[in-house]
């Protein structure tokens, strides 16, 4: 039986060039379907990676209760002091807890395209870099405590002009020089500016922090103890979350939107491609009627014939899917995208390519099953008489 299947498939593939143009329809269809699907999903993957990388589960972030993000949240110095002294926070080498208040302010900037973008400027305290070891300088130097200067994330430079070393950024109390450029290995922080917290607070006349960031103890219950201590304190009206959970919640709606758009467009195209494949495969079976009749007369059973039809369609779909994914990878992988205040790179991952291929194969299967069954059921006598 297996030899029969192999023989029919081989024969069929050998004859494929004769149906080159018809076969091309399926290949092109799959290029379009997979190209669109993978390109759209690269947006999701890129965004997810950039947000998730920023959210280290070993850190906790505390914001005022009822707020969705740091932007609207305010924690007074007194509140922050209580949070910092709570249990569950790791101690530094000097015995002080590895936690401190941070402040974020929206900083409008004009993109090269002329569109305004609101970047976050984040004020870090003395522990800032110990808390965020992923921040690595790639040019210039770190901002100094007390000095009116900023360092910029690498990703911003691609989008906003005048963000090079030595340029100046308009801040609430005048222009601050850029003294350094940093990378975080591609997370969302790379689209932010960093400065000294207290200097930034003076400049913005703010007296409260936006959030407290804390490094948790390695014990698995550290987060629970930290959370319980905060919620049990009647003076505080704050919520604490793992940094990873925080970014997950924040990014959730956007990711949901990107996914919905990608699957909706990819899905509608797939339906179109499926009908196209059905048409082509029915026509192919029609053309092969005499061949199939002969095979059946020679003693081949219906199953190898049906399998040869399906495998033809799968092979064509696989070819198209690979080309489509390659297009998506060449055009979009690593290219920078700005989505409102977020700057991130599009990512075409192996997993995404796998998904695209799977998607195409399912479409091909649906598009070839009915023609395959028809091929298997052809009456030998009628088939042999076909012209």
């Amino acid at each position: 039986m297996l030899r029969q299947i192999a023989a029919v498939i081989f024969l069929n593939f050998k004859n494929l060039p004769k149906r080159f143009w018809a076969s091309l329809v399926i290949v092109v269809g799959m290029i379009c379907v997979v190209g669109v699907l993978v390109s759209m999903l690269s947006l999701t993957t890129g965004f997810v990676q950039s947000e998730m990388k920023a959210g280290d589960p070993g850190r906790a972030i505390v914001i005022s209760e009822g707020m969705e993000n740091e932007g609207g949240s305010t924690l007074t110095r007194d509140e922050a002091a209580i949070v910092v002294d709570s249990p569950g926070i790791r101690k530094g080498s000097d015995g002080a807890p590895l936690a401190e208040g941070e402040i974020v302010i929206l900083t409008p900037a004009v993109r090269r395209t002329g569109v305004t973008i609101f970047l976050l400027t984040r004020g870090l305290g003395n522990e800032g870099l110990a808390l965020r070891p992923e921040v690595k300088l790639i040019a210039g130097r770190m901002f100094r405590p007390g000095a009116r200067e900023v360092i910029v994330g690498k990703a911003i430079q691609g989008q906003v002009a005048g963000m090079e070393l030595g340029d100046k950024v308009i801040m609430p109390d005048g222009q601050w020089p850029i003294v350094g450029v940093f990378t975080t290995g591609g997370d969302t922080l790379e689209g932010e500016l960093l400065a000294d917290r207290d200097t930034l607070m003076t400049a913005t006349r703010k007296t409260a922090y936006s959030s407290v960031l804390a490094r948790l103890e390695s014990a698995p219950d550290a987060m629970d103890r930290f959370k319980t201590a905060l919620s049990g304190n009647p003076v505080l009206s704050v919520t604490a979350e793992r940094h990873s959970t925080y970014y997950e919640t924040l990014a959730g709606p956007t990711i949901q939107l990107f996914r919905a758009v990608a699957y909706a467009t990819g899905g509608i195209m797939a339906i179109g491609a499926m009908f196209g494949a059905l048409k082509i495969m029915y026509a192919a079976v029609g053309r092969r009627t005499r061949e199939i009749g002969t095979l059946r007369a020679l003693g081949f059973s219906g199953l190898p014939v049906a399998i040869s039809v399906v495998s033809e369609c799968l092979l064509l779909a696989l070819t198209g899917a690979l080309i489509g994914a390659a297009f998506a990878w060449l055009l979009f992988n690593g290219s920078q995208k700005v989505y409102f205040g977020n700057i991130f790179d599009l990512k075409v991952t192996p997993g995404l390519i796998g998904l695209g291929i799977l998607w195409a194969l399912v479409v091909a299967l649906l598009g070839s099953l009915a023609p395959a069954i028809r091929a298997a059921r052809l009456s030998i006598v009628d088939a042999l008489r076909a012209t």
């Binding site: 143009w21 018809a22 091309l24 329809v25 092109v28 269809g29 379009c32 379907v33 190209g35 669109v36 759209m40 947006l43 005022s64 209760e65 009822g66 707020m67 932007g71 609207g72 305010t74 302010i105 929206l106 900083t107 409008p108 395209t113 569109v115 305004t116 973008i117 308009i170 801040m171 609430p172 913005t204 006349r205 703010k206 009206s237 709606p253 949901q256 939107l257 919905a260 909706a264 467009t265 509608i268 195209m269 339906i271 179109g272 491609a273 009908f275 196209g276 059905l278 048409k279 082509i280 029915y282 026509a283 700005v338 989505y339 409102f340």
Partner: protein, 409 residues
């Protein structure tokens, strides 16, 4: 089903070609060609329909984003603090009002972090003044009578129908509002508001809105916060000078303690349209990919149909059908599934568009709109696809050697 479609299609086409006068006599030829392989015809039609469903949704979405920019107001300005810290001082009002391009200025204050009953029910309560009521009638149904009513009851608020239904409120009901932190001079977090009326919805505020008195807000706030606003609404004298007036406002406060960032409503709409996904590009590429996909399908279909009927075309030419006429016949044969599919696809897209808000609850996405121009664009694209698919077969037919073709060689 196929038989029914056959009948309906036939009568539709008959009517169309009767209107064309002597086009009628060619009708059976085309009909026979289309119905030679009904299953394949239907599958092509369905494939084209899917491609145009995508086309309609995409271009409709693009149109909708463009529409939002179009209906935005170039003469309404928003004055924000350049850096989100504390707000803009009320004292700026008179200075802004003195600028030559400014006609009116309105105040919108808010109770910071306000919520009703549960922290999840956060509300942006607009605490307004008379200037605001003079600028906003185009967007909010605030009449002078309603404004007087509001002034007469300091802690009164108007709520929109959506809010009234959401919280089961009617005029006269208490509407107690809480804040997460102390928000009043008396040290409390509690605002005893009362509903004085229910108003119609505003396109500016899809989730409903609440309007209250600015004076009441300001007099109740802690002293330190008094006289600070989240933003001003400004009406420029005309739309053309709106952007310049915005610049003038920012220039005036560039070196003050609170620098401002002013944008026109139009400018904000444009930024919103461009700040996320590059909508025109993405929609064009996706709909283009769909069309490209069906182009190959129809191209292959018509080429095969012509190849299989070479003797038939040879016969037509022998009978004296001109090249042009033969070309037209092939084109119409290709165009029918394309145009039908395009019309069906747009219909599906329109039905689909209505469901998008239901499919994506909690996510704001402009609903695709289907202006008439979209229909023409789709039809033109469908005709173009049909035309491109007939180029090769038609070229082949022109070079047809009638004698050998008719003898089946």
């Amino acid at each position: 089903v196929l038989a029914a479609l056959h009948l309906v299609g036939k009568s539709l086409l008959l009517r169309y070609f009767c209107g064309e006068g002597d086009g009628m006599k060619y009708f059976p030829l085309i009909w026979a060609a289309l119905w030679r392989k009904p299953a394949e015809f239907m599958l092509t039609l369905l494939s084209v329909t899917a491609a145009f469903t995508l086309f309609g949704t995409m271009i409709g979405f693009d149109a909708s984003v463009a529409h939002l920019v179009q209906v935005s107001r170039p003469d309404i300005l928003y004055v924000y603090p350049r850096f989100s810290s504390g707000g803009v001082p009320l004292a700026y009002r008179d200075q802004i009002l003195r600028l030559p391009g400014v006609a009116k200025i309105g105040i919108v204050g808010s109770i910071p972090g306000a919520y009703y009953q549960d922290r999840k029910n956060r509300l942006f309560i607009r605490m307004i003044d008379e200037g605001w009521t003079e600028i906003m009638p185009a967007w909010f149904p605030i009449t002078p009578a309603r404004w007087h009513q509001l002034q007469a009851s300091p802690s009164g608020v108007f709520i929109s129908r959506v809010i009234a239904e959401r919280f089961h409120l009617k005029p006269g009901d208490a509407f107690p509002i809480l804040t997460p932190t102390v928000s009043r001079q008396d040290g409390s977090k509690f605002w005893p508001l009362t509903v004085i009326g229910i108003m119609e919805e505003s396109p500016q505020s899809p989730g409903g809105y609440v309007l209250g008195n600015y004076t009441y807000l300001d007099e109740s706030r802690p002293l330190a916060q008094r006289g600070m606003l989240p933003f001003f609404d400004v009406l420029a004298k005309d739309g053309e000078s709106g952007a310049d007036t915005a610049k003038a406002v920012d220039a005036m406060f560039a070196n003050s303690s609170v620098p401002t960032r002013t944008d026109t409503d139009r400018g904000e709409a444009e930024t919103d349209a461009q700040a996320g996904i590059n909508v025109p590009f993405v929609t064009m590429v996706i709909s283009g990919a769909g069309l490209f996909m069906i182009l190959f399908l129809t191209c292959n279909g018509i080429a095969e149909s012509v190849r299989e009927r070479i003797p038939e075309f040879a016969m037509l030419k022998t009978l004296g059908f001109s090249d042009g006429l033969v070309m037209a016949l092939v084109f119409v044969e290709a165009a029918i599934p394309c145009l039908f599919g395009a019309a069906l696809g747009l219909g599906l897209a329109a039905a689909f568009a209505q469901r998008i808000p239901l499919l994506l609850p909690g996510i704001y996405l402009p609903v695709p709109i289907m202006p008439l121009s979209l229909l023409w664009l789709a039809m033109a694209s469908a005709a173009l696809v049909a035309l491109s698919s007939t180029v090769i077969p038609v070229w082949r037919l022109r070079r047809l050697d009638v004698a050998s073709a008719i003898s089946g060689r």
